[in-house]
Symmetry: C2
Subunit: 214 residues, 2 copies
C-alpha cells in the first residue's frame, strides 16, 4: 500500500507515520506551512524525524494567513491558555484546515499514484474542531473516492481513539516523544499552558520526557 | 445570502457571478494561481471583470506546480488539441483541483461569515474530470456542512446543464464574452484548437465575439 501522510511533526501524525511503516506501507509525508505561530517548531521536528526514518518529506506553502481568522495564525490574536476541549479554545480553529490539507494531499497522492491519504485526527479533537469528526472524514472520503481516477481513500486510524490511546500505541512503536512538537505558541520549549500542551501532558502522563516552561 | 464564488475569469464562473449578482447575493470572488499555463490570461480577465462589477477579488497562490502532474501546469507536457471530452484531454486534468479550490473557499467563507461557496462546473466537464461530477459535489457539500461551524453549503447551479445552456443563460444576463478567457494555452488571443477553445466555440455558436488564432 502506498500512502501519503498529512504530517505535522506532532504526536498524532508521528504515531500514524510509525504505524504505517511498521505495517510495511510505502510512505510519503506531506507537511504544510499555513502561517501558524508554531510552524517553525513543528517543521524542524518534522524534518529531523523524516530524516531519521528515511522518509521523503514535502512541504507545501499555503499563504492563508492574510485571509483566514484564527488565533493559531501569525495574523491572529493571542493564543488562549486552558484545556484543549474548552469553548475558549475555539479561537484556535483554522477554518476547514483538515479539508484543505486533505484535498491537497489527495491531489498529490493521485499525482504520485498512491492509494490513500492518512490523517491522525482523534476523538479528543471532536469537541471543538468540526473537521476532525467522523461525519466530516466519511464525507471527505466519499468526495475523494468520487473525485479521483485512483479512487483514493482517506484512512483515519485514530478517529475513535483518545490521545492517551495514541500515546500508548506510540510507546509500543518505540517513539521518542522528544522527536515531536505540540505547543501552539512555538519557540524552543513547550509552554505547558496552552490547550495543546495541556492535552500533551494528559496523554503522556507517566511517560512524558518533555521539558515544559511552567 | 452571502456567497464566495470560485472564479477563474472563464465563461462558467463568470455566468455564475452574474447570476448571483442578479439574484441579489452579496458576492465575493476567490481566484487561484496554481501554476497553470493560462493563469495570467485568465487572471487579467478576472481582475478587469471584478473591477467592472465592483466585486472584491482575492487571489490565492497555490504552489502545486512542482508536485502535481498535468499538462495544464507550467511543469507539464504540451497541451493536446482536439475535443474537450476526448480521452486524450485527460492529460489536462489537475488532480482534485476542484476539491482543493472548494476547500480553501470553504475555509475563506467560514472566516468571513459567508453562507455558501459557489462553483461553475457543468455536465460537459463530467466526462474526464471526476471532481466535476454530481457525486463529488454532493459528497463535498456534506464534508463542508459537517466540517464548518456555519454549515457552509456548496451551490453548483450548472451541474446538470451543458455549456451551451450556460452560454444562453449568460446572454440573458448581458455578459460580454470578450470579458472572459478560456484557452488553455494562455497568451493574448484564443488558439481555437485546444480542448477548451473547441468547447467555447461550440457553446457560443452564432453568438461568439471571440477572435481565434486559427
Amino acid at each position: 500500500m502506498k500512502s501519503v501522510v498529512v504530517f505535522s511533526g506532532g504526536m498524532d501524525s508521528t504515531t500514524a507515520l510509525y504505524k504505517l511503516i511498521s505495517e510495511g506501507d510505502e510512505v510519503s509525508a506531506l507537511t504544510f506551512d499555513y502561517g501558524s505561530k508554531h510552524n517553525a517548531s513543528e517543521y524542524n521536528k518534522a524534518v529531523q524525524l523524516c530524516s531519521k526514518l528515511n522518509i521523503v518529506l514535502t512541504k507545501i506553502e499555503l499563504p492563508l494567513d492574510r485571509y483566514f481568522k484564527s488565533s493559531l495564525l501569525q495574523s491572529g490574536e493571542e493564543i488562549p491558555e486552558g484545556h484543549y476541549q474548552e469553548e475558549t479554545m475555539k479561537s484556535t480553529v483554522v477554518p476547514f484546515r483538515n479539508g484543505i490539507m486533505l484535498s491537497i494531499a489527495i491531489g498529490f497522492a493521485e499525482s504520485m499514484d498512491a492509494d490513500r491519504v492518512v490523517i491522525g485526527n482523534h476523538s479528543g479533537d471532536h469537541a471543538i474542531y468540526p473537521d476532525c469528526r467522523s461525519s466530516f472524514i466519511n464525507a471527505m472520503n466519499d468526495a475523494s473516492k468520487f473525485g479521483t481516477y485512483n479512487e483514493i481513500g482517506i484512512y483515519s486510524p485514530f478517529c475513535q481513539m483518545s490521545k492517551r490511546e495514541i500515546a500508548l500505541e506510540g510507546e509500543k512503536l518505540n517513539i521518542n516523544w522528544n522527536d515531536t512538537w505540540s505547543c501552539y505558541k512555538g519557540g524552543e520549549i513547550h509552554c505547558g499552558k496552552c490547550g495543546t500542551c495541556v492535552e500533551r501532558k494528559e496523554a503522556l502522563k507517566g511517560i512524558d520526557p518533555t521539558q515544559y516552561l511552567d
